[in-house]
Symmetry: C2
Subunit: 203 residues, 2 copies
DNA sequence: ATTGTTATTGAACACTGTTGAATTATATGG
DNA sequence: CCATATAATTCAACAGTGTTCAATAACAAT
């Protein structure tokens, strides 16, 4: 068969990404397959390859959708008060990872085949998250931009590690809210300004 | 064909794990396959299923080998001086991940199918790493065991996050040693006892 | 020797990703 | 208005994957 011309190429890409996004949400990265997505949108595998060239590119587009949705979420719900921003972003990261585990973890489970480099349009979608945290951290480092960039990445990476290991059950933590408490500890250390763990209070 | 009886079952398991370990090192988690390992050891796929029941169990055994090797490595090379222990373990984590990226990342890329729980013999091999750090951290928290456990996990998770994102190139960091500097910053915050990022020195 | 046990294989099944040739609907040009 | 070119879509095929299981053959026990 051939051209249905029910949709333009751009519309089809959108449909494919949408279907892929939903499938990622439902089945997770492991259950994600080109044939599955194609079936979901009422087409065949070949169409996806025709639209995106290769599977890596398609998955990157699906993950980019997640990053866009996530970024939008962070920005729109950020509080106005500057003092609470750091705490908000840190906990918001964990909250999003928890609430949308499948599509969040897909961001980090995906690997380019043959260790091919990530295309240039994708990387910024990950990196711009730093800008948010940089801004939030700024008042805590005496408005030093270099210090802010450095601390922002440190906090981002640390929160990421806490979230990853915690949600994978690799932290041997008991009770709900353990990961949240770890993040609070981190914030206290990085930005709290007082010694937290020497003679610390048993909360 | 049938029983060659060149090796006992235990010997065969050892051979399989060894072959799997090497294959993981060479090809990475993505390039790891049951047939590949079987071929490498001069047998067929069925033998691996006969030995381990299912592929998850086999991979866990291979990863357990990594954890054993890693743990041994950490313990044997740890310095005597207590003051340097925290710094040693933190940097040692990153160093191992860098030097043996394939088998290290396999520890975290592997997911149980159907989200089946990890068998009870496996989890401790991951958890005992905490004990090392707990001990190293202890003098820094006034010998409070609860505080030590809490800080140890925080540092472990944070260093894990730094290593993961850094080695995956998701941190937008320029220049060699950037990840190492992040770890130094973390140590300074957690255990250094002074404010690091307010008026911090541009090293 | 005969029987039983079990290690090992091989073939089959249902899936992957990936490629390319065959179709056919539409756009273009005469 | 018909002929031709373009390109969207499908289908079939290939080489892999994990997984299961009957058939085989080597050994142990009686």
């Amino acid at each position: 068969m051939a051209r249905r011309s029910e949709h333009t190429t751009e519309e089809l890409k959108e449909i494919a990404i949408r279907a892929g996004f939903e499938m990622m949400d439902e089945k997770g990265y492991q259950g994600f397959s080109a044939r599955g997505v194609a079936a979901k949108m009422g087409y065949t595998v070949g169409t996806i390859y025709h639209l995106f060239g290769d599977l890596d590119t398609f998955i990157l587009n699906v993950n980019a959708r997640t990053l866009d949705e996530w970024y939008e979420d962070e920005v729109s719900r950020a509080p106005k008060k500057a003092e609470q921003l750091v705490r908000y972003y840190a906990h918001s990261y964990l909250a999003y990872a928890r609430a949308h585990y499948n599509r969040w973890s897909a961001l980090f489970e995906h690997r380019m085949q043959d260790d091919a480099p990530v295309p240039k349009w994708y990387a910024p979608k990950m990196m711009r998250m730093f800008d948010l945290i940089e801004g939030a951290v700024m008042p805590h480092v005496g408005d030093d931009p270099k210090a802010a960039a450095r601390l922002a990445k440190l906090m981002w990476a640390s929160v990421h590690g806490i979230s990853t290991l915690s949600l994978q059950g690799k932290l041997d933590q008991t009770g709900a809210g353990a990961a949240e408490r770890m993040i609070d500890d981190l914030i206290a250390l990085a930005v709290g300004g007082k010694k937290v763990f020497v003679g610390f209070d048993k909360r």
